[in-house]
């Protein structure tokens, strides 16, 4: 059955947007609704409707794979669940600030999205997380950042487990890379000492198939792994330039996935690579739409788009 899934994803890959399509969108030669894949999803000319269409398309694409192959569905579902984790994170921040974040991904799996949006306190959110793979156990009064990191840790543990359960153990090294890229974000955001101090939370990020030990000097280890300059990373940490470093790590994750895919085109990696490309397309379109909404120069938007060859 995996063969069928692989063949389908190879075919579906041809429907994804090419760098030329991105370029035309950035230049304003075409609008999102002009693209055949998105035409039916864009219900209004407003940017928010377009943004929703982009997110819905990603959910639809992954949902199609869920229907195609039951035995590998847990992995695809776990990949998709990253949107739910983002929603939970957004709600947590909303609860902390008392303000409602204006936007959530149109997706839910373990937690009903409406119930999540209605949650008004930290306890209510935690109650919703209970019994789901994202259930987190942090010490009372832990900072919001630690809580969010715990959420990511729980997600990656679940994601890895689901890949194994789907018989896709070969994808674990790539999931490990994703987890390490996320850990890099947390290390830069919370500081190396704070992250290393949360030993229990590091478990979800601990690579199962790569030889990276999550011990001090963690930033140096992560820099070495992602082929980044450790000193530059420290500078970024000091100056609070998280996005730039995370962007490079994301590029490295995509590169590694592409290299693996090119080595074995007709292997389960094709499924992962397809999902990663879909996710990347969603993020890229989001960046282009936001860039247009904010009236940014095309070169600035172009710089933000992650061009991964199909």
């Amino acid at each position: 059955m995996i063969e069928y899934l692989i063949v389908r994803t190879i075919g579906l890959r041809l429907h994804l947007l090419s760098p030329d399509d991105y370029e035309r969108l950035i230049k304003g030669e075409v609008e999102l609704e002009d693209l055949p894949e998105y035409r039916s999803l864009v219900t209004a000319k407003a940017e928010e409707a377009r943004l929703r269409a982009v997110h819905t398309k990603f959910v639809e694409r992954a949902s199609l794979l869920l229907k195609v192959c039951d035995s590998h569905a847990p992995f695809v579902r776990a990949f998709l669940d990253r949107l739910e984790v983002e929603n939970v994170r957004a709600r947590l921040r909303g609860v902390l600030s008392g303000a409602d974040p204006p936007y959530y991904y149109p997706y839910s799996h373990f937690i009903d999205l409406e119930a999540l949006v209605r949650a008004r306190s930290l306890d209510q959110v935690m109650r919703l997380l209970r019994g789901t793979p994202y259930e987190v156990r942090v010490r009372r009064g832990a900072p919001a950042g630690v809580l969010e990191m715990a959420l990511d840790s729980a997600y990656f543990a679940y994601y890895r487990k689901e890949a194994r359960r789907s018989g896709l153990k070969c994808l674990v090294p790539l999931i490990d890379r994703e987890a390490l890229a996320r850990l890099l974000y947390w290390t830069l955001r919370l500081g190396e000492l704070a992250v290393v101090g949360e030993r229990r939370l590091l478990r979800g990020f601990e690579p199962a198939s790569l030889s990276v030990r999550l011990r001090p000097p963690l930033l140096d280890r992560l820099a070495r792994f992602f082929r980044l300059d450790a000193e530059q990373l420290r500078r970024m940490e000091r100056h609070g330039e998280v996005s730039r470093a995370v962007r490079v790590a994301e590029e490295r994750v995509a590169d590694a996935a592409r290299r693996s895919f090119l080595r074995e085109r007709y292997a389960p990696i094709a499924v992962y690579y397809y999902l990663l490309l879909c996710y990347n397309e969603m993020r890229n379109l989001e960046r282009i739409l936001l860039g247009k909404m904010l009236g940014l120069r095309p070169e600035l938007v172009r710089g933000a788009v992650l061009m991964v060859p199909l």
Partner: protein, 201 residues
């Protein structure tokens, strides 16, 4: 010359009154000139603040661009939820007396609170953005004050010019005319008295 001055009775009492009025007007003009100088100095100081606008705007645009870059990198859900952790600043518009001129001024009641925001990058950018906005508020306050002070200076200039070119010359002219009349009348009176004395002797 105004009608009131034209038909004034030629008497020593009127002359005393007019001389007092002239002295008062000249003193008033001097005071207004001093006030004008004071306002010009204040305006020059304000111009120095207003001159900072291009650099402040440049700084603001740079920070906004940087924020937009981060927003693109993080995605809308992540960014909007992180942004919701920053409380909005509270501003007031008050009428403040600036060198005696009422000027509307923006006052910061409370700056934005980013205590809940633990993302170092956005925290830094939020601080930089507020710094630029606070500087812009300062420039806007200076611009508002400059506008009102300039209008007031214009008014004072008109009054001083009016005093200098119309009122004071008119008063001087009237005093000169009345002095001549009073002198003529005194001479006439003296001659009449002499003639009356000659007839009687």
């Amino acid at each position: 010359m105004s009608l009131a001055l034209k038909y004034l009775p030629a008497s020593r009492g009127t002359l005393v009154l007019l001389r007092r009025k002239l002295s008062l007007t000249e003193r008033g003009k001097e005071i207004l000139e001093m006030r004008r100088e004071q306002l010009v100095k204040a305006i020059v100081d304000l111009i120095n603040v207003v001159k900072r606008r291009p650099s402040v705007e440049h700084k603001l645009v740079r920070v906004l661009e940087e924020i937009a870059r981060v927003r693109l990198a993080r995605g809308e859900v992540e960014y909007s939820s992180l942004a919701s952790l920053v409380s909005e600043p509270e501003l007031d518009v008050l009428a403040v007396s600036y060198h005696g001129v009422p000027v509307p001024q923006i006052r910061v009641r409370s700056p934005p609170g980013a205590e809940l925001l633990h993302d170092s990058e956005l925290r830094r950018l939020s601080a930089e953005l507020w710094e630029a906005v606070a500087e812009l508020v300062e420039v806007v306050n200076a611009e508002l004050a400059l506008e009102r002070l300039a209008a007031h200076l214009n008014y004072i200039n008109r009054v001083v010019n009016g005093l200098e070119r119309i009122i004071i010359p008119q008063l001087r002219e009237t005093i000169r005319r009345l002095e001549e009349r009073v002198e003529e009348e005194a001479l006439e009176e003296f001659t009449r008295l002499k003639r009356v004395r000659g007839r009687h002797s």
